[in-house]
């Protein structure tokens, strides 16, 4: 008999993690129309930064998390200004540059840091019992931080000027320019915000599972699947899609076979692209909040 509570708990945990993983990818696509193939590498960067701070230097894992978010945010900004912005209109160049930049970062870790699996101390050690099932505090932290951050993102996008400007850009770049929005700055903010989300997700991923120098590819493909399923660029759609995929994966791996880990999202992607390429919530509506 399969334990329903277990499925529910690990489903919620993995789904909220997936939502965090995908949201940065969604933001950059929604605003710039750019597929950031270095997204996975930004997750790896987050994981490795926290590994350095909280494992090699033995500082608090919370400090590792904060450090990772700051570092990835800065790298995301530099990546946009120095690499992407000058060639932004050339789709092929952007794809190749982000792909190469991503692999450059990851190979850098593989060559100069370690090819071994890395792990970091748990951010919230210990466990509690929920409905008779032991749940790690770390899992709860993943869920709570995911919900809080998503709520924060909604507030940012709906209530602040920067958020409104970002939405405006995702609707129409020309229109946004006409009303005096500084496109370059807004895109820079978006990239930094997206990278910070990626860094945060990277730390949680490393803490929840483990990390490796080439840990970025799988989450990149996952983000793409989520973003396509949720409707390209839609924040709400991405969150719902993350939960959908997280639960489908948890159920298939625990009910059918654990060998299916990783296969499910990818197969879903192919099916979605063939059957419903516009995603669940349609495309075109860019940041439908």
């Amino acid at each position: 008999m399969v334990n329903i509570t277990n499925i529910l708990i690990s489903g919620i945990a993995i789904s909220s993690l997936y939502a965090l993983v995908a949201i940065g990818f969604t933001l950059i696509f929604g605003v710039g129309g750019v597929f950031n193939l270095a997204h996975g590498a930004l997750l790896a960067l987050g994981g490795f930064t926290s590994y350095f701070i909280s494992f090699r230097y033995g500082l608090s894992p919370i400090l590792g998390l904060v450090g990772a978010v700051v570092v990835t945010g800065l790298v995301g900004g530099v990546l946009y200004l120095q690499v992407i912005e000058p060639v932004e209109d050339n789709t092929v160049a952007v794809l190749i540059l982000t792909l190469l930049a991503g692999f450059l970062i990851q190979f850098g870790f593989g060559i100069f840091v370690t090819k071994q699996t890395i792990s970091i101390p748990q951010i919230a050690p210990g466990s509690v019992s929920i409905a008779g099932t032991g749940v790690q505090n770390n899992t709860i932290f993943v869920f709570v931080s995911s919900v809080v951050l998503m709520a924060g993102l909604f507030v940012l996008v709906e209530r602040t000027d920067i958020g409104k400007a970002i939405i405006a850009m995702s609707m129409s770049e020309k229109g946004a320019s006409l009303v005096g929005i500084d496109q370059r700055r807004m895109k820079l903010y978006t990239w930094m915000l997206a990278a910070m989300f990626a860094g945060f997700a990277g730390v949680l991923l490393t803490s929840y599972q483990t990390g490796q120098w080439n840990m970025g590819l799988q989450p990149l493909l996952l983000s793409f699947t989520i973003v396509v399923l949720g409707g390209l660029g839609s924040i709400k759609g991405s969150i719902i899609a993350a939960y959908l995929i997280g639960f489908v994966e948890t159920i298939t791996t625990s009910v059918v076979s654990s060998q299916l880990t990783g296969v499910v999202p990818l197969s879903l992607l192919i099916v979605i692209l063939l059957v419903r390429p516009q995603g669940l919530f349609g495309r075109g509506v860019d940041t439908d909040v």
């Binding site: 750019v34 597929f35 193939l37 690499v83 000058p86 060639v87 050339n90 789709t91 092929v92 160049a93 794809l95 190749i96 540059l97 792909l99 190469l100 930049a101 692999f103 450059l104 190979f107 850098g108 060559i111 100069f112 080439n214 590819l217 799988q218 990149l220 493909l221 793409f224 396509v228 060998q259 990783g262 296969v263 990818l266 197969s267 992607l269 192919i270 692209l273 063939l274 390429p277």
Partner: protein, 382 residues
Amino acid sequence: MSDGFLRGLPRRYYLGLVFLVALGLSPVVTTQTQLITIIGILYLMMFAMTWDVASGYTGQLNLGHAAFIAVGGYTTAILNITHGVSPLVSIPVAMVLSGLAGLAIGIPALRIRGAYLALVTLVIPTIFFQIVILFDGVFKGSFGFKSPPTSLAGTGGSTGALVTVNRSAMATIIDFYISYAVLLVLFLALFAYTRSDSGRILSAIREDEDAVVAAGIAPAKHKVFAFVLSAMTAGLAGALFVHSTAGFPHPDQLLADTLSLNIVIVSVLGGLGTIIGPMVGALLFGGLQFVAGEFDVALPMLEQTLSDVIPVVLFVLGMVVVYYRPEGLVPALLQRSEPELEDPARRPSETAADGGTTPVEQVAEKQAESLPNSGQSQDNEY
């Protein structure tokens, strides 16, 4: 149509010829181990130019070319090792199956374009790898096949060889020449195809698909054909690769993320949509790795050796080229050395100064000539 391309014959074509002959003479000066590395480079050259014919020409990035190579490699390995079929049969079968795989990607690729296609193709080798793991009875899982397939050339032994000689050094040399011959054939075929009218339509599609449609040409069949051609030739190269001394039917060799990535990097280095560019890029890439491997020095401060850091060097090189010379090294060098001989078809975004035409215009004119009312559509502006 051919005078435009004959015009460019001097110098750079001779240079290319000299280069190819020099490459063909490499067994004379290398040791057996070095030659095996060079055979590996020959296959990277083949992989890169088969990639270029679809992705470089139409501008539809395929980030999972390894999948086509793997279809070829696994087909021949399963037929040959598991079922004892001769490579003379299994390699052509592998080629056909890869062509079908190309069709399977090429048709959906009509619907999903640009960045979407790039990401979808990035997924495909990963799915293929999962299939290899799931059906490890057939594909032998992540450890690959235990025994090698029939070699192209060998000293006999349990697995046999297509060409049997008594010295293993000689076998490697024959192996080299078989691979080299296939490289030349593939090169000539792809070069001729991309310089034909059909190839010009592909370049025109990359520039402006709507204009091609407006000229009365359906881009769909040309795009699908390019994908099938790319996949078939990649399957051929992949199948030969596992039979050669440089390759083995193992997922690390056929499905590694780095394989597809290297193919993209070398093509970008050399120049997308030129066939020659990716060959030169692969040679440069392989050459750098070869030299780094031969003269491996420990780098101070980094606690690494040169060959360890070479991937990073290549990524940086690739990024620098995309950034500063997005057309690639070969077209950039040609433009510098022989500006007057510039082939307009290679620099699609600009019209040649001497009044030469871009592929879109060429295609439109060609189409206009074949229509009964040819005079009118000449004036159309695209």
